[in-house]
Subunit: 223 residues, 2 copies
């Protein structure tokens, strides 16, 4: 079956306080996004990688690829107004019987084991969402009051969220909605079951300067 990775890198990077979007910030000498794409390429050099980038960033990305001699094959789709729109633009480049992993561009530390777990489970069940146990206590907010929740009953959700393409395309026929914080919530809203796989502790999302510092440390640990 065809395998796709849709890597979503719509971030404007405003939260980083940096001039360039966070997916382009250097991590161990090259942009975060290159590490991310390389992880998929290492897993399967035949898989089709679709990078979703805002139109305004595409020329900059192409220059970065030239400067770094970056040769992981990929196609580019246009980023949309929201994450939902971006994924939809990426999906427009997919076809046939396939499995699709949708991944945050700013999570460069996914590894072959995690990607393999996701594709294997999605091939069997239709969906695979990597999750991780919560390390902190949890409270639920209801108006002005809050309640202690048993954290064992919750999981923190990572990417790559992986699905059969036909399921994903049906799910993305639903109109966008505030409740859709990830692809699993969309697929679930469309009535499909969601299967979980074990995530990876270091598969962090780089969204703050502190995360980038942590990322440098993770990179050193892995090398």
């Amino acid at each position: 079956m065809n395998k796709y990775a849709i890597v979503v890198a719509g971030g404007k990077g405003l939260r980083m306080g940096a001039d360039i979007p966070k997916q382009f910030l250097p991590l161990a000498g090259k942009p975060v996004l290159m590490h991310t794409l390389e992880a998929f390429y290492r897993y399967d050099s035949e898989m089709k990688i679709i990078l979703v980038l805002p139109v305004s960033q595409q020329a900059f990305w192409k220059k970065l690829c030239l400067d770094h001699g970056f040769d992981v094959p990929h196609r580019i789709a246009n980023g949309g107004e929201s994450r939902y729109d971006s994924v939809k633009n990426g999906l427009a480049l997919t076809e046939g019987e396939a499995l699709v992993a949708i991944h945050d561009g700013v999570r460069p530390f996914l590894n072959t084991g995690l990607i393999a777990r996701c594709f294997a489970k999605a091939a069997e069940k239709g969906s695979a969402i990597p999750v991780f146990e919560l390390t902190e206590s949890l409270r639920r907010i209801e108006g002005k009051v809050s309640f202690s929740e048993p954290r064992d009953a919750y999981r923190s959700v990572q990417t790559p969220q992986t699905f059969r393409l036909d399921i994903l395309k049906k799910a993305y026929e639903l109109p966008n909605c505030d409740r859709f914080t990830d692809d699993a919530s969309i697929v679930e809203a469309a009535g499909f079951p969601i299967d979980l796989v074990e995530g990876l502790r270091e598969n962090i999302k780089i969204t703050t300067p502190l995360d980038l510092l942590l990322a440098e440390q993770i990179f050193k640990l892995k090398s």
Copy 2:
């Protein structure tokens, strides 16, 4: 009103894969726990600090204090079988009209602002729990299925959790229970309202080698 800090350092450190418990691991040249106690001392040098330590670690701690010339005044209570027992042992050293901040020994990055917020809110309302927004999507597990949850409706819970002493003592008359993952859950179970304050992103709990690496980076950022 009297102010207490009960710093709970019961960890055996097994998860760190290190020989010494994680509260003693060096961070920027001195044990994690010393940073933690210093934060309370910086906030108010008159407040009473109670350190809860397993009996087996107390001689080692005293030697560390001598070696480092550590002079933050504090009393030591014996660690118990569970966190609940440890806090209870710390509470046995408190008295009078007071406010009590209960804090994880392995969270060395709390600052004066956070401690001040907690004591101010607890003085006004009886309780103050520092919380932080979730950065990842959240799923709730029910048996073999799971459900997407709106992460805006949840908060990740930190310490110092701060209470009026009379409330805390009443709450700790309840017998221990699996559902008690923090002090707020105990106080809530005893029927008292819980008030929230804004936590601090860098107020992380050091529980894995990766956390310790991140901690070194946070320390550099702050210095």
